[in-house]
Amino acid sequence: MNENYFRWRQRCLIVLFILMLAELIVVTSTVFSQEEVASAIRRYKGYESSTGYYEEFEVKPNRIRPFVGVSEVKKSVFSYSPAASEVRVRTRLSDSHYGIRFYENLSCQYCHPAEAMDIHTTRANLSCRQCHGAEPIASIEHYYSSLNPIRKHAYVCSKCHEGASASFASYIVHEPAPGSPEARKTFSELYYAYWFMMFLLTVTLAFFIPHSFLVGLRELIKQIGKWRNQ
């Protein structure tokens, strides 16, 4: 009896272990941020039949968004979310936007306007999803996220920057405003570089512009005096 019980318990544990392993491999790995695509267009064509209007919802410069207006962009992140109080730390979720009401109707820059203004979006014309993947967008620190620092260089950066290293991937795509208190806290090198250059610019121009103006004025007075004497 006892022997049978132990054998049954052992089998149950093995099955449970297999199920857990399956869950870990199969279920979590379906977080779509792991997909490897090089353009938003290819993504939509590859994964769903699209009208093409999705492209207009993507964060791109000088594009008209036909259905979504962004005139009242919310300043604070997730201020409208009923789940905001429940989910405070979103950086480790498999679906970082879990629980946000009307999420389906929003574009990325509705909540992340500053993130939509970096060099990658404005210069390289990248859309958010080209790096962050499709829905559900995993948090960047979620273990299986392609943007997790342990694999970001290989899964994301190297799509365009062939041969990107982990060191290269420590480039901060969504950096804080360089002169802000936030930058002082999170990116002090950028903060001090910014204020040093501002100091240099201000001192140089604050001295030389009035100096040049006064030289011009004095020479003009001298010239007028000469003309009068003549």
Binding site: A169, I172, L201, L214, G216, R218
Partner: protein, 276 residues
């Protein structure tokens, strides 16, 4: 009676270096501003002139390389120009561009003169602002060159440094470029060509010559020194031909107009500037 005697102020090689720097600086300013303001309609237009954003980048990188080469060549030129047998006089004499205590005295005197409480300083061959213009390139160009190379070759850079250094490099490159453009297009253009004593154009850097009377008024210590040494006769030069004057007037004023155009639009569209 109009003074017509002209004396040599800049050698041909000095003028060629200035011309190369001027031309490359203007191209870099235009392509750089096009890239900096690419989110605006104006930035798009500027890039369009160069064949689009990608081509503007390509030209910017290429001309940047020429600028660096010119700078290195200039350093070699300096090494040849230094009189190694009389190093002290060569480096710290009145003909040297290295700043000295006399410049501080001139500055203080000039400030008093500007406010009408003193006489005009008796400048020698180089004024303190001319020295600042010259040495400004020595801090600006290496900073722009190093950060520029880091940004052109980010993967290579990250073999030696972490990726966040590129964020800092981008900021330094843009901020230094804005400083250089603002200084050249406001201060240098005004002091060089538009102030009453130089208007309509200070031709010295193009023709290489300066009118003796004008030089005596602006740099009396230099002319006095030359007269004492009896060197005036040796550096007497021929005035430039009319066609050559027309060429450099057209070129000079085109450069000023381009600079002012970039500066004004840069101010108008300044809300599009992102230093990071």
């Amino acid at each position: 009676m109009i003074e017509t005697t002209v004396i040599k102020r800049f050698s041909l090689s000095e003028r060629l270096f200035h011309f190369l720097l001027m031309l490359s600086f203007l191209i870099q300013s235009a392509t750089g501003f096009g890239r900096l303001f690419i989110n605006s309609k104006w930035g798009e237009k500027v890039c369009y002139v160069f064949g689009g954003y990608e081509n503007a980048s390509l030209i910017h990188h290429f001309v940047g390389g020429i600028m660096i080469a010119g700078f290195l060549l200039h350093i070699i030129f300096l090494l040849f120009k230094i009189n190694w047998l009389d190093l002290r006089q060569s480096l710290f004499g009145p003909d040297s561009l290295i700043p000295n205590f006399q410049d501080i005295r001139h500055l203080s005197r000039q400030i008093r003169w500007l406010f009408g409480v003193g006489d005009h300083p008796r400048f020698d061959r180089w004024t303190y602002w001319e020295k600042f213009d010259y040495w400004g390139v020595f801090w600006g160009l290496p900073l722009l060159a190093i950060t520029g190379i880091m940004l052109i070759y980010p993967l290579w850079t990250c073999r030696f440094a972490p990726g966040w250094i590129l964020n800092v490099a981008a900021l330094l490159h843009r901020a230094e470029a804005i400083l250089a453009v603002s200084y050249i297009f406001i201060v240098h253009f005004f002091i060089g060509h538009l102030r009453p004593a130089s208007f309509p154009m200070n031709e010295a850097m193009f023709s290489g010559n300066v009118v003796l009377g004008q030089a005596t008024e602006e740099k009396p210590a230099w002319i006095e020194r030359l007269k004492m040494k009896g060197a005036i006769e040796k550096i007497k030069a021929q005035p430039p031909s009319q066609w050559f004057r027309v060429i450099y007037y057209v070129f000079g004023y085109s450069s000023i107009l381009l600079g002012v155009y970039l500066l004004i639009n840069g101010i108008i569209y300044s809300r599009y500037i992102r230093l990071h």
